[in-house]
Amino acid sequence: MDIRAQVSMVFHLDKCIGCHTCSVACKNIWTDRKGTEYMWWNNVETKPGTGYPTLWEDQEKYHGGWERKSGSLNLRLHGRLGGLANIFFNPFLPTVDDYYEPWTYQYDELFNAPEGDDQPTARPISMITGKHMDIEAGPNWDDDLGGSPVYAANDPNLGELTEEERSQLNELERMVFFYLPRICNHCLNPGCVAACPAGAIYKRGEDGIVLISQEKCRAWRMCISGCPYKKVYYNWSTGKSEKCILCYPRLESGHAPACFHSCVGRIRYLGLLLYDADRIHETTLAPDDQLVEAHRAIIQDPFDPQVIAAAKANGISDAMINAAQHSPVYKFVKKWKLALPLHPEFRTLPMLFYVPPMLPVLAKLREGHYEISGVGDQGLAPMLSSLERARMPLRYMAHLFSGGNEEIVAAVYRKLIAVRIAKRAQHVSEATPDEVQQAMTVGNTNPEEIEAIFQLTSKPTFEERFVIPPLAREMAVEATLDPFTHKPETGFGFRRAPKRGG
């Protein structure tokens, strides 16, 4: 047993209102520099949709992540020799057009244009070339299903839906979407680390944050393809790759990452998980439909004396173990089994988990009224989610969150529905005690668990959402540096300007 600690995340999609505050908070801190204008280390996508960069989930196109071939795990992108052979040209690299060409406007024209017959305009100019450009796409071009015949219709996750189910999604009355905020998953088996020829990307042992050494990066640009989530970005100006750093300078000083801190819907939870690093390999080899179970199994119980002993033997401090015991992520992922990894079939073991959104039920227009058909006949109160009548087929969710295993997603929903029915029964008395009991049985839960889920979902305090482990970086650096010298030097880490090399 090789117990390690991982700073992990849960995003509760039911609470996401798609306001993009997280993205803007991140951008203002980290990616407002030249060469990073197009990067959104945190982005919020509308699902169904093609996402950012376009069609990032389509690994036939980008060859990201891992694949299981005859019992062994291979990078989809390349073998070792192939990686070096393709180093002069990466055939699967997304280019700036797969994201969007960043632009600004010539605002000074509004003030400086000579007097004339026409109103002066602020024309868009490219932030790459500085020349006039026609805007063809931008961040969240398909927000809220904008242009859905072009974008949402091409969502790779819709592939397994029947023609009828797909056409339903285009009917105005039946349209459905939800938001999917994404940051780097800080995976246990990251594809970017494995794909980097220079070995510049590494996982921090103490907290599992995945970082790119800007000194070692040589712009071989394999990480961008290797990451199946397309969460490594290429800074075209400095010639270095960059990615979400989970705001480690903030974490180290006890603050939540900027996107977590600023989240308006309070959908984000952050906490420590303990996992068994010896089992990473076997976990990544599980069949697609068993990946979620395997992923849960690698996460260890922080109250188990054996686990605690192994953690201590690995140098994990008591304070860190304590943080793991109070981790909201542990509750959502392991205890309640409500949060699922995004696309586990990429086999990178992502450590950002999602509570899938409640599915709105189908309504039909009849005599000028929307009617929810079939309400009541399953013992479910009206206006509540019903799996059987969900607008968004379960198969779609399973494709996103459970490697195609619908049973796992269904179990999550049954529990969420039970929580909702039980809480509504307390406050608006819609459901009878029998109905509540039935929902709890179906949802495999009990009143205590329901209350705990309700508290952490609807009324958590700041400290309950973010149990920031004491990373004690100042103690970790003591061995090599004076902590007081180190302290003002932390951050993104340049003591000189990141000047592009000749």
């Binding site: 921090r204 075209w236 270095k240 690995n314």
Partner: protein, 225 residues
């Protein structure tokens, strides 16, 4: 006197520059070590430029280095005419491929505006020098037959004499001007090396062949894994 400057002073200066400035840059400004790939900005033309250029020039350069390191074995290798012909013709083809690739790369940087904005002055110098050097090389190979052979008796002893700090320039001073330009061009590239993106060549990630896929960095590790 000019010959001494060109064939003794210049090679030493260029190598010293490459080592000293290259090392300085590596140890004190490592952030600037990068291949500065612009594939992200322009994809299509790069394929037709970068791949032929790199493969062509690497193979040709490897032949140069092998002959320099193992002159005796190289001599035996080309001792039979048919082997010499095959080797030379292969060389012509590879050089032509490299020239086409480099031309494409230059055209790309001129025409693709996105790639042009990330092209520095030194990039232009480097592109021009590299193209000239490969064109000169092909010129020499085509019009001063069999270079694979006389290389062993001219440039090789000259370079070895430079390495052993006993410069003998008589091996090269009598050569035609075009050949001399090609020799000097080689050292010009070495001199340009630390000042350009050419430094990416020294950090070719050969260790990728054997390094473990996952890299975990510990600040302080209590227990060795």
């Amino acid at each position: 006197m000019l010959n001494i400057v060109l064939f003794i002073v210049f090679p030493y200066v260029s190598v010293i520059l490459a080592v000293v400035v290259g090392s300085y840059r590596y140890f004190f400004d490592r952030f600037t070590y990068s291949s500065q790939s612009s594939q992200f900005l322009e994809n299509r033309k790069l394929f037709y430029g970068s791949v032929p250029w790199h493969y062509g020039v690497i193979l040709v350069l490897t032949a140069h280095v092998l002959a320099l390191l193992f002159p005796a074995e190289w001599g035996i290798l080309i001792g039979v005419p048919i082997r010499l012909y095959i080797l030379e013709v292969t060389g012509y083809i590879l050089a032509a491929i490299a020239i086409l690739g480099m031309t494409m790369l230059i055209v790309r940087r001129l025409t693709a505006i996105r790639a042009r904005v990330v092209t520095s002055r030194m990039d232009w110098v480097l592109l021009a020098v590299l193209l000239a050097q490969v064109v000169l090389g092909l010129w020499v190979a085509l019009f001063y037959r069999w270079g694979a052979d006389w290389y062993l008796h001219t440039a090789v002893p000259w370079i070895l004499s430079l390495v052993t700090l006993n410069p003998q320039i008589q091996y090269v001073t009598v050569l035609p001007v075009v050949v001399q330009l090609h020799l000097l061009g080689g050292f010009l590239v070495i001199a340009l090396f630390p000042f350009t993106r050419l430094v990416h060549l020294m950090t070719f990630p050969i260790t990728y062949l054997w390094r473990p896929y996952q890299v975990v960095v510990w600040n302080r590790r209590a227990r060795k894994p």
